[in-house]
């Protein structure tokens, strides 16, 4: 197929040009990039024949010539306002088109024990920071590794307690033509530290953009990390994100992932419970309308004993939106006393919205508890009638029930300013009266 060759030629030409720039990085990084790019070229974009991409057709991505784009220098602090959270954006790291912007960030008064720097600087460190992402064969992770020009590195020192959330804002701002954005977030939480990160993706502009976001969390023994991911890219954006979480002994990772944007939004989340007593909560809410496709693939890998994991995913689908949920739970032979719970629920607000949901349990230990459940439905007619019978109008009643459906995920967000803003976005997104 000649189109395929051309498409890869575009990426190849950009990669060769990138190789000549200082941003390509030191030798070890150059080697990693070249290897990743070679593997990407060899494998190409996934097709629906791949089991992991069975219901998510990325032909629209393959058909679009995404080019490496510049840093979009024109941004001012005022341009960021719509994406900030009033009381939760004091510690702010800003990444525009995959490049950390010290100018737009507010990192002057970092709490003790916190280091936040641009990834480009962190990547030149010796020895190199090698997270699980470098071993991944995921095509969009490979593309990110090849083209990543920065992002944010967060380091929380052992025993540091940081109550204020660290807000990392990624903005994808393509120019007139389709742009490739390859940001990275790397978080190292030291032993017994406690901190909170809001990972926020937003978009501006009308052109298509391919955001290949890669995020890694390394949690030391006893570390506690509270994570919120917000994704509000434009309707022309392809948000292809991979998150890797590595939990050491007795560490706790709690995450609420809220997806509002994108034409295709794919989240691959892999959490490895690599030490005794580590605990992981992966919750998510996605809201989609129009022709949007939202795909969540989670893998919770129970490698060690006595680890609980909790997972609640909720989807609200309107218009002709489609969703995919695949929740894999692996319980390895050593992982006795695992307690894994998974729930996936979807609310279909139109006849044309649809979801494919699949739990995938791979259990190799015998003394474990694993439960999973999926429910797909419409708004409950009896609940709707009850509200109306008390004088509440149909639209308001629907609004209340949708809000209620979303509430157990949204209520998991500890920062009031973030939660309240997202509740507002939910209402706006569904064009519901306030």
């Amino acid at each position: 197929m000649p189109q395929v060759a051309e498409r890869h030629e575009t990426y190849a030409a950009d990669f060769e040009a990138f190789r000549e720039t200082p941003a390509f990085g030191p030798e070890w990084l150059g080697t990693a990039r070249s290897s990743a790019f070679a593997r990407f070229i060899a494998g190409g974009f996934p097709t629906t024949r791949d089991e992991e991409w069975k219901f998510t057709n990325v032909a629209a991505i393959a058909a679009t010539p995404f080019r490496r784009i510049g840093a979009a220098e024109g941004f001012s602090r005022a341009d960021l306002e719509p994406f900030l959270f009033t009381d939760a954006s004091r510690l702010l790291a800003v990444v525009i088109n995959g490049r950390f912007s010290a100018r737009l960030s507010s990192l002057d008064s970092l709490p003790a024990g916190v280091t936040i720097s641009g990834m480009a600087e962190a990547m030149t460190d010796q020895p190199p920071l090698e997270g699980p992402s470098l071993k991944s064969a995921h095509p969009f992770v490979l593309l990110n590794t090849a083209f990543c020009e920065g992002g944010v590195f967060v380091h929380i020192e052992p025993k540091a307690v940081v109550t204020e959330p660290i807000h990392v804002l990624f903005i994808s701002a393509p120019g007139a033509d389709p742009g490739l954005v390859a940001p990275r977030l790397f978080v190292v939480a030291g032993e017994q530290s406690q901190s909170s990160i809001v990972e926020n993706y937003a978009g501006v502009g009308d052109a298509p953009v391919l955001t290949t976001a890669v995020t890694e969390f390394l949690l030391g023994p006893g570390a506690m990390m509270d994570h919120v991911k917000v994704q509000r890219e434009t309707a022309e954006a392809f948000h292809m994100a991979s998150t890797f979480v590595h939990l050491h002994r007795a560490s706790t990772f709690t995450s609420q992932a809220i997806t509002f944007g994108g034409r295709i939004a794919r989240n691959d989340i892999t959490a490895t419970l690599a030490g005794d007593g580590a605990e992981c909560t992966l919750n998510g809410l996605y809201v989609a309308d129009g022709e949007t496709l939202v795909d969540t693939h989670t893998t919770i890998d129970h490698a060690m004993p006595h680890c609980p994991s909790h997972e609640v995913y909720k989807g609200i689908l309107a218009g002709r939106a489609k969703a995919v949920f695949n929740g894999k739970i692996i319980v390895r032979p050593d992982a006795q006393k695992t307690d894994a719970k998974q729930t996936n629920k979807a609310l279909l607000l139109s006849d044309e919205a649809s979801i494919n949901t699949k739990p995938q349990l791979e259990i190799f230990a015998d003394d474990v508890k694993c439960t999973h459940g999926a429910a797909i439905g419409q708004l409950d007619a009896d609940q709707l009638f009850y509200l109306r019978a008390r004088g509440i109008g149909l639209q308001d009643a629907r609004n209340m029930l949708i809000h209620a459906f979303a509430s157990d995920v949204l209520n998991g967000i500890k920062h009031d300013a973030v939660r309240e803003r997202l509740e507002q976005v939910l209402v706006e997104k569904l064009h519901l009266p306030v």
Binding site: D380, A381, D382, Q383, F385, Y386, L387, R388, A389, R390, G391, I392, G393, L394, D396, A397, M400, L401, H403, A404, F405, S407, D408
Partner: protein
């Protein structure tokens, strides 16, 4: 006349349940509708408040001079029609007091009254909660979620007290209540009796009517009112059983 039902016929899932029911209710009156299972008591309650599963195929129901059957459920509620549900629905994720504030303000707005702010609303519900001996904590829970049967019924009457309807329809409010809960609920209802408010009490048993004493008792059988009388009719019914009514109805048919 507050409510005038004339020759009402109602169908549920292709089956005719009410077969020409007529009833007149004036402000200030309490009417009890009694009857055996399947006689159409709950159907009457539900058609009056606009339940979507019930379809009127004939006859009329005029409320306060308006065609009741033509209104959406929320319009009826705003116009002052209230039904205490036989089976109140649990709504996880919707806070009881948030829900009630939305309902009260929708009703007030419709009546041309100013909407209440949080402080004013709190004053109203504190006062009404006392009336029903409600634990304040119930207000902060999700609507009916995890409530016992008695708590749910009490919550219904509490809502009625807050919304101050002109026509209240209690659909088997006594079912599932122990005697203490029954007394509290009945006291709440009695406190709401007033010259400009009418109450229709739908019940299978006479017991509730010891506490909420009706002005009129109607016996429903086979989708029609077959006998009407004063409060003594309920006692007679308790004494002789519904078989007696069916016999009377059969003799007339």
């Amino acid at each position: 006349m507050l409510l005038e039902i004339s020759d009402l016929r109602v169908r549920v899932e292709e089956k005719e349940i009410l077969k020409g029911l007529s009833l007149s209710v004036n402000p200030g009156e309490v009417h009890a509708i009694m009857g055996p299972n399947g006689s159409g008591k709950s159907t009457l309650a539900r058609i009056l408040c606009g339940h979507p599963g019930y379809e009127a195929t004939g006859g009329t129901a005029t409320y306060d001079g308006k065609d009741l059957l033509d209104m959406d459920p929320e319009e009826r509620a705003r116009e002052g029609v209230f039904m205490a549900f036989q089976y109140p629905v649990e709504i996880p994720g919707v806070n009881n007091s948030y829900f009630l504030k939305a309902a009260l303000n929708a009703v007030r707005k419709h009546r041309g009254l100013q909407e209440l702010d949080a402080v004013e609303f709190l004053q109203v519900i504190r006062e009404k909660a006392k009336l029903l001996e409600m634990d304040q904590s119930m207000l902060h829970r999700a609507v009916n979620e995890g409530f016992s049967g008695g708590e749910k019924k009490r919550n219904e009457i509490f809502q009625m007290a807050v919304l101050e309807p002109k026509l209240a329809i209690l659909d088997e409010t006594d079912s599932g209540l122990d005697i203490d809960a029954l007394r509290i609920v009945a006291a709440g209802v009695n406190a709401l009796r007033s010259p400009d408010r009418a109450i229709i009490v739908v019940t299978h048993y006479q017991r509730l009517l010891d506490y909420i004493v009706p002005d009129f008792v109607h016996v429903l059988s086979g989708g029609r009112i077959v006998k009407s009388g004063g409060k003594e009719l309920a006692l007679e019914l308790e004494d002789k059983g519904y078989g007696w009514v069916d016999a009377v109805a059969g003799a007339r048919a």
